[in-house]
Symmetry: C2
Subunit: 195 residues, 2 copies
Amino acid sequence: MAGRRTRSEIVAAADELFYRMGFEPTSFADIAEKVNISRGNFYHHFKTKDEILNEVIQKRAADRRTMLDAWEQEESTPERRIARFIDILAMNCDKIRLHGCPIGTLTGELAKLDHPAREEATALFTLFRNWLSRQFAQLVPHKEADRLAMELLARSQGAATLYNAFRDDNFLRREIAAMKAWLAGISAGRKSAHD
Amino acid sequence: MAGRRTRSEIVAAADELFYRMGFEPTSFADIAEKVNISRGNFYHHFKTKDEILNEVIQKRAADRRTMLDAWEQEESTPERRIARFIDILAMNCDKIRLHGCPIGTLTGELAKLDHPAREEATALFTLFRNWLSRQFAQLVPHKEADRLAMELLARSQGAATLYNAFRDDNFLRREIAAMKAWLAGISAGRKSAHD
DNA sequence: GTCTATAGATAGATAGAC
DNA sequence: GTCTATCTATCTATAGAC
C-alpha cells in the first residue's frame, strides 16, 4: 500500500524530467536520483521505461481533464472558457520559454522515435481539441466548431514553438492578444472572418 | 582533397538522420552505417558529435539561403514569394507528417538538451523571419513587417506540429488555404485585419 | 520494499596498423 | 584516409541479500 506513494512519486518525477529534458535523454538514474531511491528498487515499481512513459501520459491526461473540468465550473460562458485556454501560454510562459509545450514536444519526440505510445500522446491534444470544440459549438454552427478548435490549437502550438526559440516576451504577448481578438470576433459576429 | 567528399557525405547523412530520428537518439554507428564507413574512420573527419551538429546546422542554413534566393529570382512579387513559403507545408507534407518541421523540432530538442548550439539552430528561424520580413515590408509599413513575418512563421509551425500529431490531410489543406487567404487580405488591403 | 552488485548492450571516443 | 581493436562511461535491466 505504501508502494503506491513511491510509484506516484516516480511518475511525477518522470513527468517533470521528460518535460524538461525529453523522454529519450532522461535515464532511470535521473529519475531515481530525483525520487531518492536506488536504480535497483526502481524495477520493483516499473519493468520498463515505456511503462513509465505510459503512466506519465495517463497522468498528464488526468491532470488536463481536472483542469478543463475546473474551467468549466469556474467560467460561465464559452468565451471565457476558451480564454482560459489561451491564457495557458501566459500562465506557463517561464516553462514554455525553456522547454516548450509539454504536449507538443512529447508528440514530436515520440513521432521521431516512431514510438508505440505516440498515439496515446496525441490523445492529449484530442482532449483539448474536443473540449474546445464543445465550447465553440456554443458560439458557431456545430459543423465549424472542430475547425475552430484545431485552428486555435495550432496557433497556440506555433506561439509556444517560436517563443521557445526566440524567447521574445513581446511576441508572446502579441500572439495572446491576437488570439483573444480572434475569439472576440467569433463570439461577437458568431461567424468566422474567412470561408 | 578527396576527404571533403566523405566529410560532406557524413554531414548529409547526419542531416537526414537528425531530422528523422532526432539529434540525441542518432548514434555515430547510425551515421557511419549510412555513409558506409567504419566508426573509427569517422573520427578522422569529426572529433565530436557536436562538431557534426554544428556543420549540419550550417548546411541547413546554406540550403535554406539557396532556396530563398531561388524564390526571389523565380517570383516577381512579394505576395508570390510569401506564397512559396506557405507552400513548403504542401511540398514537404510526407516528411512533416512523419518527422515534423526540421527547424522547429531541432530547436525544440536542443532547448531541452540545453545545448550550446541552440542559438545557432534558432538562427535558421531567423533566416526565414528576416526574408519574410523583407517581403512583407513591400506590402505594409516597415514597422509591421516583422510582426507579420513572426505571425506567419508561428502559424506554419503550429500547422506542422498538429499535422505531425493528427496526420489529417484536410486540416493541413485548410491551414494552407487560411494562410493564403490571410496573405491575400494583406496584399489587397495593405493593412492587416486586426490592430 | 529497499538495497548492492552486476550483467549485457551500446554510447562516444581513442590508438595504432595498414 | 580507412580500417580493427579497444577504452571508458552509461544505458536498461536482472539477481539476490536484507
